[in-house]
Symmetry: D2
């Protein structure tokens, strides 16, 4: 069952504009027939899940806490880890590639682990100046870059 898994990582709370970018990325992931993987919380994670879910796609949220209720309402498959920040590694490992949208230190930890273990990272208005990130400027460019990889 060779379904592709595309991770979206980013800030747990964000501006409307960033949320909208994440939503459009989610729509596009669903359109590619891929499964969306994320950390399951708010902000960028919710925007991406909402886009994918409303477009009929599959959404996985790998949650840091011990309760499924912390998932945003667009997570279809909640994975409850109770691992705290260590769950970031699972988001990375479960994805074929990562799209980073905005984000703080948690996102930087996911970018780092992805590059450490050799997963491609596409960056949209996220941490700058990291050589191995493929930077793009719009949700559509991020999706094109993802489609070229998977």
């Amino acid at each position: 069952m060779p379904v592709k898994m595309i991770g979206v990582i980013g800030a747990g709370s964000c501006s409307n504009e960033t949320y909208e970018s994440a939503r459009r990325v989610g729509v596009g992931i669903a359109g590619m027939g891929a499964t969306l993987v994320c950390g399951g919380l708010g902000g960028v994670m919710e925007g991406a899940c909402r886009g994918a879910h409303e477009a009929g796609g599959q959404t996985v949220g790998i949650l840091p806490g011990h309760d499924r209720d912390q998932a945003n309402p667009y997570v279809a498959i909640p994975i409850v880890t109770d691992l705290g920040q260590a769950r970031n590694v699972l988001v990375v490992r479960s994805s074929d590639l990562l799209i980073a949208i905005s984000g703080g230190y948690g996102t930087l930890s996911e970018i780092s682990i992805a590059l450490k273990i050799g997963k491609p990272v596409i960056g949209l208005t996220t941490w700058p100046d990291i050589d191995e990130i493929q930077y793009v400027s719009t949700a559509e460019e991020a999706l094109n870059a993802a489609a070229a990889i998977v």
Copy 2:
């Protein structure tokens, strides 16, 4: 999105008879509209995934290693943890209830964690004499017991 998650735990290799029990449990879980959660490997895990998948249900495999390829072919959503045995905790935490079928010490660790954190465990030809397990004799009884809980 209130989909129920039902975990199936058990031996990674098993007799044909046990595999068939697991498969029937998987069929029933799909029939209930629930998502099947398991450790993603062979034996009981594969039997349950096969039953659920062939009946049109959703299957999640929470894998111990670092490679999606270790999943059995009926896992639709592979979660790659690279956590070794610690992934057992995630199988338990992500499930509303657990159905234990046969199994060795790995399964006993999952039963223990489930009872430790208060998740119901239904037991079918598995570790005997644990007070809080609800023991049943057939796949159908296991499904009836599960349906009464979720």
Copy 3:
């Protein structure tokens, strides 16, 4: 640096009699020149740490939460995991052998993982009737059994 690591697992709260058994086990582990490994909390874990610490031995507590303050006062080396029950696996993996004293389902999960991955388990008034546990009746017998292994 071939220092031996001996794990003590058991109930997080216990009777005075069980605490005293754990304390004597801790004294003996220190006397063997081994390092005591445990889950770092109360009850059996505290008793064992206290015995080892007061006898001049080294004590490691592998904690489930995110705060060092949950360690009992006899833990010299607190390892803060924030992994919840998944930290049980680390207690087992870090030990050359395990001594189980009393205990509930958390302890049973540690016994299970130990036997799953091939670590010897010595049992003192703990879960009965598990074939691969070496059962003993006193703290002194537990220490003799441990000394014969390490």
Copy 4:
């Protein structure tokens, strides 16, 4: 038992000059009476452990694999996690502050998690231009900065 825990993070293989910086940091940590925490492998981790150990200090190595033998020879307390990169979180959580020396993406993931959860990070010839890192130029400056915090 209020012993301080100081984490040293950095590249798993490094130049002789970087190894020597790490070694001097380790000597200083031992001199402060603090316990050294690290990932237990080679390069910067080994240099720091060597310095601390040879100066009579305590060294903890939180290992990614399933075998104590992967620890460098100056680790007195090996913690075997079998968690892969997820063990990085434990190095951070178990430390009062982190000293980052050189390092690649694994180190960047540890810096990120530290800053995410509010642990101070002192940086010596490591990832540049991260606002919340306190940058220093020598091992001695790193130790002075650490002493001012703990």
